[in-house]
Symmetry: C2
Subunit: 150 residues, 2 copies
């Protein structure tokens, strides 16, 4: 018996398996981001802008579930790197409109590739069909998670 086997009592818990595999994925992606001086929220912001177009900063917070104060810092760094553009909304000068720049789009593409790479590593043990099924199941779980309160 391998003295490094994990306890079956734990591995029979789906939440535990999700948590561990999720952490593995998260850490790997975080590493790739860290190599570029970024963290997960930076990528999330870029993705939100790419998928849904320009946002007021506040709307980004609502969409991603981030504290406005934390978002300000993330936005700051992305702006410093030239990956997003920040402009005052002339209709409501309290608002700051955030948009992707060309370099930002490029960066996101790069990060997306890195993430796909991590997926490939993580799911190396699955056939293509299994990956498809896993993805569908995870989407369902994700929907459930989003719908139930904390």
């Amino acid at each position: 018996m391998d003295p490094r086997d994990p306890p079956p009592t734990l591995t029979s818990i789906d939440s535990y398996l999700l948590s561990l595999t999720g952490k593995a994925g998260r850490n790997r992606i975080a590493d790739r981001l860290a190599a570029r001086g970024l963290r997960l929220w930076h990528m999330a912001v870029l993705a939100a802008l790419a998928d849904f177009g320009p946002h007021a900063q506040r709307d980004l917070c609502a969409r991603l579930g981030v504290d406005p104060s934390d978002m300000a810092k993330v936005i700051d760094q992305l702006a410093d790197g030239g990956h997003i553009a920040r402009t005052r909304d002339d209709a409501d000068r309290r608002r700051v409109l955030i948009d992707l720049t060309g370099p930002g789009r490029e960066l996101l593409a790069e990060l997306t590739r890195a993430a796909a790479d991590v997926d490939r590593q993580l799911l190396a043990g699955l056939t293509a069909a299994e990956r498809t099924r896993l993805h569908a199941l995870l989407l369902k779980v994700f929907t459930t998670v989003r719908s139930i309160p904390d």
Copy 2:
């Protein structure tokens, strides 16, 4: 369009879905543990002892991948609560043998029930057959994760 929809660029990444759903599960289980003054490692230790029998403290560290220094603190708290018994190994008096006590076994059963509860919440959107398939897939991914270096 729901202004709270997550970016598809993110939800198409399996590692991201694993990470989010895993975090949801983790947090919920952590909450239940916190209500009893415990954290995840406490449960992991109890599970390892229940599944594999008594361990030297060092072997628990190896099995669970915890720093020996951190393990010492976890062990300390479990011993304080009367959930494990700590005895010096007479054959090698450097070693401390850790074993589950009756109350420890009870506590683990309780925690396992709580975890199953969380699973039920998280996977509420899946049919029984889907849950079975998800579990099998997660086990495979878990095996892969364990086999590849960090």
